[in-house]
Symmetry: C2
Amino acid sequence: MARYDVPAENHDRVLELLRQLAEASRAEPGNLAFDIFEDIDDPTRIVLLERYVSRDAFAAHRETDHFRDLVLGQIVPLLTSRTVEQLDAEDQ
Amino acid sequence: MARYDVPAENHDRVLELLRQLAEASRAEPGNLAFDIFEDIDDPTRIVLLERYVSRDAFAAHRETDHFRDLVLGQIVPLLTSRTVEQLDAEDQ
């Protein structure tokens, strides 16, 4: 789960980049889901819910060109904050 | 973290109820945050990110009148699915 704070002026650009990232990530063999959520009352708050078959698959995701180019290269510089939590699936 | 699938015809009503729930929940002594997110490409997918000072505080939340009335009594019947994951905060 990743949580982004996006300055209003960067909002549309970040969403555009995130859609590109989602498309590329969903094509990864180890990816099960990549969904982008926005706070209904505060569009500067974005949450990414990604699901991978394993922790290794998630690690492999972070080694891909699209992660380096889109996340590290383009998206992160547009954010005011970013936190990432690695969670083990436990549906109740 | 709660994930709801909301039929389109119930969307606005569920959001209205969730805002009431958020307001009541934020007033609980053990609550740190209650945020409502919507999938940017699929408004039928809603995610609630709630944060409590302890697991006991989260348990107390589920014993409140507003939880019983709003969640169990009004919101759940309007959903097609609901999953709840209890996560221990580990910001990276």
